[in-house]
């Protein structure tokens, strides 16, 4: 995972060079200088490779000039369509072409600085690896890219402008680390301890254990946790960056089921290993806090995560149990595998009563139904507030973390009526993601609220433009952008 630096545009003495070309664009000064140093071999090579700068196109020329190991030309597509937001994918596509080089110079002297920054960010985000548990890797198989120097006209200004992105990338990587960790390592107690790492960034971290949560009446969260040998935790992370210290905070709430067997309503064996990432909502909230604190965002934020493990055992909760939530409302547990909403119910209630937020957003790998509805490109977005919903959708488009709004209404709410309690925790298959959102809505007390169902987007089975396959940290970039665009005073 390379260090990014910014340098004056000059030919390097060694290493590899990346040149970026828009379709129909002109080569930059650095590109031309390299061509001259190569005695025209670069121009001839690109011509012979049929390189036109179209999106997804690339060409490599080995040892074009003394000291230079290779030149990689990367297409950016039509110049008119190139924006900072679309530039990250260019960086992401560049990374696999340069991962085997130690030092790389990115010739960004021909493009706008905001675009160059996002290309660099794209390289960085795509370079993520999680190698903690590999012991037999051969050095040749490992990426060697250690340093990406971005060459442009104003390196000092670029360095300052890139600083927030560096913090965001750190947040993304922290989130991906948490989500990638296996469930025997990252259980609720361990995950809570890792949240303490945020204190170094100036975040106040408070950890609530079993005793405290019992006292708060977290009957729903504790019902989920009681099948596991490992105690649950709730972590409250506070960042007070607003100039007005007393300003009401905004709250981000994450589902953190560190492993979800389904409990007594146990899941089928096939694919159950994926359930280690059933804490991705919490992983995103932690990464987001790191990003916001890391870039010293001028906003008051509280991040809250409910951390439990959902296990079948003699002490586990049963289908048919009735639990009392912190809000006082009772829930008939029809299916112990619909546990995420039980965890969120208590954490959301706590967030409201304790922190009185202006608005709140919860993230959860909540339902398989959202994958059947939308697939893996869009997260499901549910909201009781059209303005906030539209702002989240826009931030999603800007960061490539897409959201699609789905409906809420009384007609769906009726599907979770219980014969014995205030509500039941599942309806039928029909509209399964919607009824889950209706359940959560019963705990938001009418506050402006967005629920993101990220079950389809938290983990990717294939490489994405700015995320290798595995944990995506979906939501960190999106919500950081939401805050930056609308909520920093």
């Amino acid at each position: 995972m390379p260090e990014i630096s910014f340098v004056k545009a000059a030919l390097p003495k060694a290493g590899a060079v990346v040149v970026l070309m828009a379709e129909g664009g002109e080569p930059s000064a650095l590109h031309l200088a390299l061509d001259a140093a190569s005695g025209g071999a670069v121009a001839r090579g690109l011509e012979a490779a049929g390189f036109k700068g179209s999106k997804g196109q690339s060409a490599t020329i080995w040892a074009p000039a003394p000291g230079i190991t290779k030149l990689v030309a990367v297409g950016m597509g039509p110049a008119a369509a190139l924006t900072p937001d679309s530039a990250e994918a260019v960086g992401g596509a560049t990374y696999p072409l340069i991962r085997a080089e130690k030092d790389v110079l990115l010739a960004a002297d021909g493009i706008e600085m905001p675009v160059a920054l996002r290309v660099a960010l794209g390289v960085k985000l795509r370079s993520y690896r999680f190698d903690l548990y590999r012991t037999t890797q051969k050095p040749d198989d490992l990426p060697k890219l250690a340093h990406l120097a971005v060459a442009l006209a104003e390196p000092t200004a670029a360095r300052a402008a890139y600083a927030p992105f560096r913090a965001v990338a750190e947040g993304v990587f922290m989130s991906r680390d948490l989500v990638s960790e296996p469930p025997n390592v990252l259980h609720p107690v361990e995950m809570a301890e890792r949240c303490r790492g945020l204190e170094a960034l100036g975040v106040t971290v408070e950890i609530l254990g079993l005793k405290e949560m019992k006292k708060l009446g977290f009957g729903a969260l504790l019902g989920v946790a009681m099948g596991s040998a490992i105690e649950p935790r709730m972590v409250v992370m506070k960042w007070n960056g607003s100039k007005k210290k007393t300003e009401k905070p905004i709250c981000f709430i994450g589902k953190g089921v560190t492993f979800d067997t389904g409990g007594i309503s146990i899941k089928p064996a096939g694919g159950m290993e994926d359930m280690k990432w059933d804490m991705a909502g919490a992983g995103t909230v932690v990464g987001l806090m790191a990003a916001l604190a890391g870039r010293k965002a001028r906003v008051n934020v509280v991040g809250l995560v409910g951390l439990v493990e959902n296990m079948p055992s003699g002490t586990a909760q049963r289908p048919g149990d009735v639990v009392k939530t912190a809000s006082g409302q009772t829930v008939e547990v029809i299916n112990t595998d619909a546990e995420g909403r039980l965890v969120l119910a208590d954490v959301i209630h706590y967030a409201i009563t304790k922190h009185d937020p202006k608005w709140m957003i919860d993230l959860a790998t909540l339902t398989g139904a959202i994958i059947v509805a939308l697939g893996h490109e869009h997260a499901g977005l549910f909201s009781n507030d059209d303005t906030l919903a539209a702002q989240v959708e826009a931030a999603g488009r800007a960061t490539g973390e897409l959201c699609w709004r789905l409906p809420l209404s009384d007609a769906y709410d009726k599907q979770i009526k219980s014969d014995i309690a205030d509500m039941k925790n599942v309806g039928t298959r029909a509209g399964g993601s919607i009824t889950a959102a209706q359940f959560i809505q019963r705990f938001v007390q009418g506050r402006p609220w967005v629920h993101l169902d990220i079950a389809g987007t938290a983990w990717s089975s294939k490489d994405l433009p700015t995320a290798p396959k595995g944990a995506t940290a979906f939501g960190v970039r999106l919500l950081d952008r939401l805050v930056a665009d609308h909520f920093e005073g």
Partner: protein, 431 residues
């Protein structure tokens, strides 16, 4: 045409059964009294009043004096008066402040209701009665209302290269057919395209036995289109419109099409069959092509009970709306709201189209089973989009909306809803 004769009057008549906001449920010296329940709006109020009529009573007077929308009351009662048995003809009298104006508005409203009820009449018929041939016969009856009905049969479809629809219907004794209903009017038409699977066993990729009986309603999209065309004809619509209905039965047989087959569609694109139970999109592909190639429509809208996925996504309270055109999408959403047939916009993402890449043909029809949960409704929409070119297009996935999942004011539980007919008629009349 309607199960009740509707009159708007200024003075009370001598109808023994009366409904009104001030009355209580019960009986008095004149007859039955029904409290008008306006909580869910006037259409639901009219429907509930009719539903409250005691067995054997077929005449009702609703006191709508002082109420804003007497026509909606009449519409609701008329829709609810439909029944799957031969309906005894009833009478409905609406007492209102401006009966002549109400009657004029009713003249614009009842054709849509007639269209809705025609669709219900088709959807309710079991598959041994409403075979593809019988469906075609019922549609030919629409010519008496001025619709031009053209029928293409199996031989025609095979001869003209409609390889997708031909394959879907091949194993059945009856069909397949492509039926065109044309309402001649001004300008280039709006085209409707409907999925008319009279029964869907799933074919070789056969469905589980539980719930298969509901598959007799897998022609509800085509029925909605036919109902909309009837509404336009009864309302003597000014603009032209056309409906292209793909009618077939998807069954198992020695001559069934198979998973793995490659079909050549009428548009020329080749399709790898992955699952013979994803037949609706194949039938629609050829029908969409036919509508566009033969009629050069301003816009094309299709309706289909297409995927279980859309039921998982939206349940029974919205149909899914997919479109390649923001203007058409907005107009369709608005028509759905106006008709009380709610739609919700759904995405066709880049990934959805990528997923349809085939190793052997231009595209595959869906994702193979066994790869985990799939957004099949989005995949189906991405598939259909390949057959519409640049024509503005909207696709209604109305699985889950064809029959009433629970009792609702306009239809009893399990009964067909006629979903789509009023929406389409409304949309075409307004644009």
């Amino acid at each position: 045409m309607l199960p009740v004769a509707v009159r708007f009057r200024a003075a009370p008549g001598d109808v023994p059964n009366r409904a009104g906001p001030e009355l209580h449920d019960g009986f008095d010296a004149q007859g039955q009294t029904i409290r008008l329940d306006l909580i869910q709006g006037p259409e639901a109020a009219g429907a509930l009043a009719w539903a409250a009529l005691a067995e054997g009573r077929h005449a009702l007077e609703i006191d709508a004096r002082g109420l804003a929308d007497p026509v909606a009351l009449a519409a609701g009662a008329t829709l609810r008066a439909w029944s799957p048995r031969a309906t005894p003809r009833g009478t409905l009298s609406i007492l209102c402040d401006a009966p002549r104006m109400a009657a004029r508005r009713w003249a614009k409203t009842w054709p849509g209701i007639a269209g809705n009820l025609f669709a219900r009449d088709l959807v309710v018929r079991p598959a041994n009665d409403l075979t593809p041939a019988a469906f075609v016969q019922a549609l030919q009856g629409l010519s008496s209302h001025g619709l031009q009905v053209t029928v293409h049969d199996r031989a025609w479809l095979e001869r003209h290269g409609y390889g997708a629809l031909s394959a879907v219907g091949r194993a059945a004794l009856s069909g397949p057919y492509l039926v065109t209903l044309h309402w001649p009017g001004e300008g280039p038409p709006i085209a409707l395209v409907g999925k008319g699977l009279c029964f869907d066993t799933g074919g070789i990729s056969i469905k589980p036995a539980g719930g298969m009986a509901a598959m007799r309603a897998d022609m509800a999209g085509a029925a909605a289109c036919a109902g909309a065309m009837l509404a336009l004809a009864l309302g003597r619509a000014r603009r032209s419109a056309v409906a292209v209905l793909a009618i077939a039965e998807n069954t198992t047989g020695a001559d069934s099409y198979r998973p793995g087959d490659v079909l050549r569609t009428a548009r020329g694109l080749t399709v790898e069959v992955v699952d013979t139970d994803a037949e609706g999109r194949l039938a629609l592909a050829d029908a969409l092509h036919h509508a566009i190639a033969q009629h050069s429509p301003r816009a094309v809208l299709d309706a289909a009970t297409l995927t279980g996925s859309i039921v998982t996504a939206l349940g029974h309270h919205h149909a899914g709306l997919f479109s390649n055109d923001a203007t058409l999408q907005g107009a369709t959403l608005a028509a759905g709201r106006a008709a009380g047939e709610p739609l919700w916009p759904m995405p066709i993402g880049e990934r959805h189209r990528e997923d349809l890449t085939s190793a052997i043909a231009d595209l595959r029809q869906c994702m193979p089973a066994g790869l985990g949960r799939q957004p099949d409704a989005c995949h189906a929409a991405a598939f259909l989009r390949e057959f519409v070119g640049t024509t503005p297009w909207a696709h209604l996935d109305m699985a889950g909306m064809d029959r009433a999942e629970a009792d609702n004011p306009l239809a009893a539980k399990g009964m067909p809803t006629g979903f789509g007919a009023r929406l389409f008629a409304q949309l075409i009349q307004e644009h």
